[in-house]
Each structure stands twice: as structure tokens, then as C-alpha cells.
Amino acid sequence: MGVEIGLYGLLLLLVLLALRVPVALSLILVSLGGASLMFGTDTAISLLAAKPYDFVAKWTLSAVPMFLLMGFVCYHSGLTSGLFNAAKVVFRWLPGGLAISSIFASSGFAAVCGSSVACAAAMGRIAIPEMVRSGYRPSFACGTIAAGGTIGALIPPSILMIVYGVFAQVSITQVFLGGITIGLLTAVSYSLIVLAVSWLRPDIAPRRAEDVSHYSVAQALIEIWPVIVLGVLVFGGLFSGLFTATEAGAVGAMGSILIALALRRLNMAQAKKAFLETLSTTASLMIIGVGASMFTVFLSLSGVAAYISTAVTGWSLSYLELMLIVVLIYLFLGLFMEPFGAMLVTLPIFLPVFELYDLSLIWFGVLLVKLLEIGMITPPVGMNIFVIRSVASEYASLMDIFRGVAIFLVADLAVVALVIFFPGLVMFLGGS
């Protein structure tokens, strides 16, 4: 009987999501209702009502608002605006050099920012106008930035990875280390796409940039020193043992505020924006986490989690077959779901399966974040696309941007395949 309730619960969840009920409340409603059917209303409510408090009162989760704040402060105070110019100094001589520069500028911004939407927004405002001026087809320019933005959630800090680490109970630092590799791999793969496009279709991405302005190395360094200082502060302090990954968020946020104040780039209005965006992002994420932790209890008590994992084990899938299924499921969910919802709804089911298969949960966390980030640039719901559309509305329509980003999906699938065939790739920095 429990398993049936569990399966109906999953079905009901899908219906509620389709009817525009917020992800968090859908999870809470199904969990409360299902647990009430199995154990009575009083038991269900008193059991699940402890979850909101228990879920948020966690030390590691405190890094989420802190890293968000660091990113928003950097963005609103323009600390990161010089990254693009600096990247141009290094990459402009390549075919499609401006696009490649924007990709590596995104990677640099990723080191101070925890989410891909913020990364895409920041880079879009700076790079798209210049790329279009230099002869890039607008849809391709927008697509490059939308794709490059996903690096923001791959290279640490990454809010997705923190929440994953909390849920899967694995070391966040280890997942972060895997994120460095996959982030750089993604940047290189996108650059190869740009090179190829520029080679085959110079009308889309010009082989040589029309020079708008020349930058020297010294000028570039002057522009990006705030980011370098912040990176050294956060990662230097982390690796020299001054503080833990959780504490690094607070140090980074404080560092970004102090630097921005010292440079007189942070006024009251910008600070207010940064804090309010941090707050609303944090609160809307945390309540989904609360719902997901209730849903985990419901799935466990109904026996449906065990039922599914036994069934999957019963099929005795090979590693590659299992991975194929996982990739397809996340690509499908990524079409229409936002990454936190997709991750937290599925983890209760997948984690037991992976434990049975003895897969490294650190490795999987890295792969999972990559898969979820692909969803950020696929139609119909692709958050990065929407963000680019809102910051670069005069250059391209929504459809144009989806078309422009499509070619980068080839690179994404190649990276996913690499990670699946050579798990050691993302694990070698992490060691254990």
C-alpha cells in the first residue's frame, strides 16, 4: 500500500508542478498528504513540521547566502567589468577571439560568483554589444554568453554544489575541486566550438576582430586587480588553511564589499540591490530544500525510493546503461525545470541507486551540476537564455538566442561523455 501511495505521490507532484504550484509547496503538500494517508494526520504533521527548522539550521548552508552576496556585490559594483578586457589581451589574436575572450572572462567571473544566471547577466551587458560591433552575428554572440554563463555554477564557488553536498552528505570542498576541472573543460570545449564556427562560417564569427581599442597587459591587470585580490583572498585563505570552505563565503562577501567601498564603487542603492537579491534567492532556494527534505521522508516511508532502486538494480544495468538513463532524465527535466528543483526532487531517488552501484557521490555531484547547467540553455525554459534576452533585448529575440546557443550543446554533450567515460578526469584534483 505504501509503495502505491508513493507512486501516486510522484504523479500528483508532476500535476501540481504543471499547474504552476511553486516547487517548494508542491513538495510539501504531497509529503504532508502522503504521510497523513500512511500514518495519520497528527503523526505526519508533527513529523514533517520539524523539517523547516532542521533543514535550514545547518552550518554548511550558511555558505549559500554568503557566496551569493559576494557575486551580487561584485556584479552591482562593477568589480568584474574589467575581466572581458583582460581576457581580450590574451585571446584576441585567435579566430573568434572576442567570443573566446568572453568565455574565459566568464570563467574568471565564476571564481567570485556562485550561480550561472548572475554570471551570464554580468558578462552579457559587457561583451554582447562589443561582439556585435565587431561583426559577430547577434544570435551567436548572445548564445556564447548564455552558454559561457553556465561556467559560473561549475567553477567554485557554486551554490548548486553546496546544496548538493549538504544533501548527499559529501565534502563540499571535494565537489568544488571536481568543479574546477569540469569548469575549465567546459570553457575549453566552448572555445573549440567558437574556433570551428569562426573557421567554417566567418560571417557568424569573424576570424579577426575589428579593433575597437587596444589594451596593454598592464592596463588589463589594472582593470582586473579587484577580482585577482578577491580570488587570492578566498582561495589563498582556503588552501593555506586560514578558514574552511563554509567560512570562505563570508570572507569573500566581506572582501568584495571592502574592495568596492575602497574603490568608491558601492553606493547605498547598489548595496541594497545586492542584499535584497541575496535574500530573495536564499529564501526561495531554502524553502525548496525544506520541501525536498520532507519529500525524502515521504518517499522513504512509502518505500517507493527502495522500490525504485531495487527495480533499477533488478534490471542489472551496466554502468553505461545506467548513466545513459541518468543523462536522459536530467536533460529531459532540464528542458522545463529550474536546476535546484530538478536536483532536489530527484536526489532522494537516485542517491540510493548510486550507493548500490558504488559510484562516487563526489564525482556524481560534479556530473549532476553539469547536466543541470545544460538545462539552463535548453528551450523552453532556459534561465540563462531569459537573462540574456533581458540584458540584450535590442540584439536578439528569444528564438534567436536559442538558435545561437544550440551549437554549444554539442560541446556540453562531449564534456558529459568525457566525464562518464573517464571519471578520473574530475576526481584527480580531489584525490579520494
Binding site: V56, K272, I287
Partner: protein, 168 residues
């Protein structure tokens, strides 16, 4: 009615302010702890407990009503195109009603828990110091009650297509 709208808006703004202060305080507290540890090798007492029990509960749950007011609850938008504008409006009103119902259930449940924790004077041991944590349990029923209020107040605004969630 407009009084209720005003109340919902005012309290949302207050919550946003409180939450922002929570973020600022948490940041300063953790940084100070790190700096003191690195320089003088001392720690601020009870940092772990204050961060998890006070700051996190305040800034993660209390602003819920404000998030509802700004319509920033994360939902799946993919099928929205399927419904016409009118259907979507009524659907959203129903969702708001359902949300209010769920929040009210959570209000009752977390209120009972808070009273129980108050009665025993709940604390956690922070090293050798019993750090009281019972006050933090009252944040939850408050957060959910305000979220329920905002959800209810939004219903007529949704139906009359009168939502103005951009303020703050």
C-alpha cells in the same frame, strides 16, 4: 481590503529589512571569528550555534512572505503557454489559496513546537555554556503566518489583474 494590502506590503518590506540585517550580521560575525582565530587564536563564543540557530533560521525562513509578495517563489513555467491568460489568472488565484492553506497548516504545527520548546526552555550546549535556542522556534510560525497572509491578500489582486509586486 486596501488596509490588508498595505499590511501585507509593509510587513513584507520589514521582513526584507530584517533578513538583510541578518545577512550582514552573519557575514561580520563569521569574518570576525576567522580574523580573531588567525591573529589572536581566540574564537567568538557560540559562533556555530548563533549562525545555525539564529542567523540561518531568520534569513532563510522569515523573508518567505516577502518572496511571496514579489512572486519570486520558484515554479515550473513550461506549461504556462498552454493556458490562456484568463485561465492562468484563475489558476494562479487557486494556487495562492492552496499556498495559504499549506502555510496555515505549517503555522499551527510549528507554533505547537515553539510553545513546547519554550516550556522546556530549550538550549544547546555550546562547549560548557547552555545557549538558549527556544526563541528561534517562534520565527517559524511568524514566517508562515505572514506568508499565508500575503498569499490570501494576493488572491483578489491576481483575479483583478492588479498585482503590483515590483515595489521593493
Amino acid at each position: 481590503m486596501s488596509l490588508l494590502v498595505k499590511l501585507a506590503e509593509r510587513s513584507s518590506v520589514c521582513l526584507a529589512l530584517l533578513g538583510s540585517l541578518g545577512i550582514l550580521a552573519m557575514m561580520l560575525h563569521i569574518v570576525l571569528d576567522v580574523v580573531l582565530r588567525a591573529t589572536l587564536s581566540v574564537s567568538i563564543p557560540s559562533t556555530l550555534e548563533i549562525v545555525t540557530r539564529y542567523y540561518m533560521v531568520t534569513l532563510a525562513l522569515l523573508p518567505l512572505a516577502w518572496v511571496e509578495w514579489r512572486k519570486q517563489m520558484i515554479f515550473v513555467e513550461s506549461l504556462s503557454g498552454m493556458f490562456g491568460a484568463c485561465v492562468t489568472r484563475w489558476l494562479d488565484a487557486l494556487v495562492a489559496l492552496l499556498s495559504a492553506g499549506i502555510y496555515l497548516v505549517l503555522v499551527v504545527a510549528t507554533w505547537n513546537k515553539a510553545v513546547e520548546q519554550y516550556d522546556i526552555g530549550a538550549y544547546v550546549m555550546s562547549l560548557d555554556f547552555p545557549m538558549p535556542v527556544w526563541p528561534t522556534y517562534f520565527i517559524l510560525p511568524l514566517a508562515f503566518a505572514l506568508a499565508a497572509l500575503v498569499s490570501l491578500v494576493r488572491i483578489p489582486l491576481i483575479i483583478t489583474n492588479n498585482e503590483n509586486y515590483d515595489r521593493v
